[in-house]
């Protein structure tokens, strides 16, 4: 199981980095989504205990570490806000420049 998880997270990082490096800004935004989800999974795997039942309950079985879950919840909310903002900006830019190609947006190159 840990190996499968590591492989899955690694693959997600690979896909995310590949997409972030695309010239098309929309693809690169999708890459950001995948990267932030890969980071959340990575945080989940950093938990101290390999548990299956929630913390602070009376259910039997090994407890799960609650802290990474709290971190992930926060990170999910923040990355959702951030990605919404990026997509809104990309919408404005693509509408204004009539392209989603990063190399074609040259306004800032003096």
């Amino acid at each position: 199981m840990p190996y499968l998880m590591a492989l899955a997270i690694g693959t997600m990082f690979g896909i995310g980095i590949f997409l972030v490096l695309r010239r098309n800004l929309l693809r690169s935004a999708i890459g950001l989504v995948i990267l932030s989800n890969a980071v959340n999974l990575f945080l989940l795997c950093c938990g101290a205990y390999d548990g299956v039942t929630p913390a602070y309950t009376t259910a039997p079985g090994p407890r799960a570490d609650a802290l990474p879950q709290a971190l992930i919840l926060t990170a999910i909310v923040i990355s959702m806000g951030g990605l919404a903002f990026v997509l809104a900006l990309l919408g404005v830019l693509a509408h204004r420049e009539r392209t989603a190609d990063a190399d074609a947006m040259r306004g800032l190159r003096h």
């Binding site: 950001l32 980071v39 945080l43 903002f85 990026v86 947006m105 306004g107 800032l108």
Partner: protein, 495 residues
């Protein structure tokens, strides 16, 4: 003293932002409220600084009364209190500038709430004692700064904001990965607890990975040379009151971070980190100086000059002696005041140009009929280049003296060789705007942005240049505090 005091500099701007959101229909009331809350927050952080400095102990507040390694801790040690005062002073000046700013975006209902949440994020990231909480506050700061740039009058603002936000999201991913690496190795994210545990077992395999990822995060925040490419675009396209904040205090978050890394978290590996900082800082001083000379826009020139100044700060942090750390604090403080003032002056001159722009082609000779901003720019430029009687001279003197004491002659030679570059680009800007003949028919528009805020900041630069002892004493005390991280750890963990 009330134990809630360390919370006030964070909570006041946040409450102000929420309240200002309600005042949609009354722009004046919004501006007044923003300025009032920011002044109150500055007052609170000044009281906090005085309290921490006079008692000699960090003030710690445990949120929700959870004891230290389990809950979120707000820690005001001398470094955090000093930087909080610095940030909020400059933020107040920014709000004073925005008061009379002629940009349309200042009247946007979201402007003041975003400005205050920028202040909240910055102060919170400095005062928090928890690595994940730092991530949350840094994200608040980043998203406020990017949104403030995206609503700029300059139509390139949204492009610049997009660029910055992309890179900041990637930097945040690096920070989250570092959080994961540290949590899996040490089981805590509280800075004091981490420091203690890393000192006890410094040989965990993921520790170097975490150090590199944290460095990537903080160096991106500070726009240090290999991570700098977003910074000149972003700072040039932002509205003047915002770009004056971004290029002066917001970039200081990274400086704060590397100070904490080398003096609290990773004391064992500090030598390696310091060698990297000296190399990157030296490269930044040379690169920033040369590129600032080659620019065609006054604001862009000042943004590149920030690369050089941050480079000098990093070199001082890299030397690592208490005297060098004190010099780093002095330069950090001074640079915030100087750079904010100069960017405001560049913006004020641009606001008088027929086409609102700070490009030299549009403002050459415009200053001949504007003597007051010229005098202020000259004084600010002298401070940036480190000439007496300004505070820039005091900082540079402290830097060179600490370098000679630490016998770091190689880095000193680079700094000395690069320091005339500052004089070259400041003099060139002054000459183009205030000396050269204007193009035919170029007369300044009436109105424009008022000069109250930059005049206050330049005045403060002169006062701190002539009466430098309080700041120097504060910086020396900071250097001593940073040399004894055990006090920080004990204050937080109460052991």
């Amino acid at each position: 003293m009330d134990p809630h005091l360390p919370l006030l500099p964070i909570v006041l701007p946040l409450a102000g932002a929420a309240a200002a959101l309600g005042l949609v229909a009354t722009p004046r009331a919004r501006a007044t409220l923003a300025l009032a809350t920011m002044l109150a927050a500055t007052l609170a952080s000044l009281v906090l600084l005085r309290e921490v400095w006079s008692t000699g102990r960090p003030m710690v507040f445990q949120l929700g009364a959870w004891p230290a390694p389990f809950g979120i801790t707000i820690v005001a040690d001398l470094l955090a209190a000093t930087l909080a005062v610095m940030c909020q002073l400059v933020m107040c000046a920014g709000l004073v500038y925005a008061w009379s700013c002629t940009d349309r975006c200042v009247r946007d209902p979201a402007f003041y709430p975003l400005f205050l949440s920028l202040a909240t994020g910055l102060t919170g990231a400095i005062l928090t004692g928890d690595l994940f909480n730092l991530f949350v506050f840094a994200e608040l700061m980043v998203i406020s700064g990017a949104a403030l740039t995206a609503i700029a009058d300059d139509r390139l603002g949204s492009e610049a904001a997009c660029k910055y936000f992309y890179l900041s999201l990637l930097a945040s991913i690096a920070l989250l990965l570092a959080c994961g690496c540290l949590y899996v190795s040490y089981g805590t994210l509280n800075l004091a607890d981490l420091a203690q545990r890393i000192t006890a077992t410094p040989d965990r395999p993921l520790l170097p990975v975490a150090i590199v990822l944290l460095l990537v995060f903080f160096l991106t925040k500070s726009a240090v040379v290999p991570f700098h490419f977003w910074q000149p675009d972003f700072h040039t396209a932002a509205p003047t009151p915002v770009s004056a904040m971004l290029s002066s205090v917001v970039v200081k978050l990274g400086v704060y971070g590397v100070l904490r890394m080398t003096t609290l978290l990773f004391v064992h590996e500090a030598e390696t980190i310091r060698a990297v900082l000296v190399a990157l800082g030296g490269a930044g001083v040379v690169f920033g100086g040369l590129t600032a000379i080659g620019t065609h826009n006054a604001k862009r020139m000042l943004a590149y000059s920030t690369l050089a100044q941050i480079g000098a700060i990093l070199v001082a942090i890299g030397w690592g002696t208490p005297a060098a750390l004190a010099a780093a604090i002095v330069i950090t403080f001074n640079h915030s005041l100087i750079k904010a003032a100069l960017l405001m002056l560049a913006g004020a001159v641009a606001s008088r140009a027929p086409v609102k722009s700070a490009a030299f082609a549009d403002i050459t000779g415009l200053g001949r009929s504007l003597p007051l901003p010229g005098a202020l720019f000259l004084l600010g430029g002298m401070a940036l280049a480190g000439l007496p009687p300004t505070n820039g001279f005091v900082g540079k003197l402290a830097l060179f003296r600490s370098g000679i004491e630490a016998a770091q002659y190689g880095a000193l030679a680079v700094l000395a060789a690069a320091s005339p570059l500052t004089l070259v680009y400041v003099a060139r800007a002054f000459q183009r705007v205030w000396w050269e003949q204007p193009a035919a028919g170029l007369v300044p528009k009436a109105g424009g942005d008022r000069l109250v805020a930059p005049a206050l900041l330049v005045g403060l630069c002169l006062v701190l240049g002539v009466w430098a002892e309080p700041l120097l004493a504060l910086a020396r005390a900071n250097g001593e505090w940073l040399a004894t991280p055990a006090n920080y750890v004990q204050a937080v963990l109460r052991r």
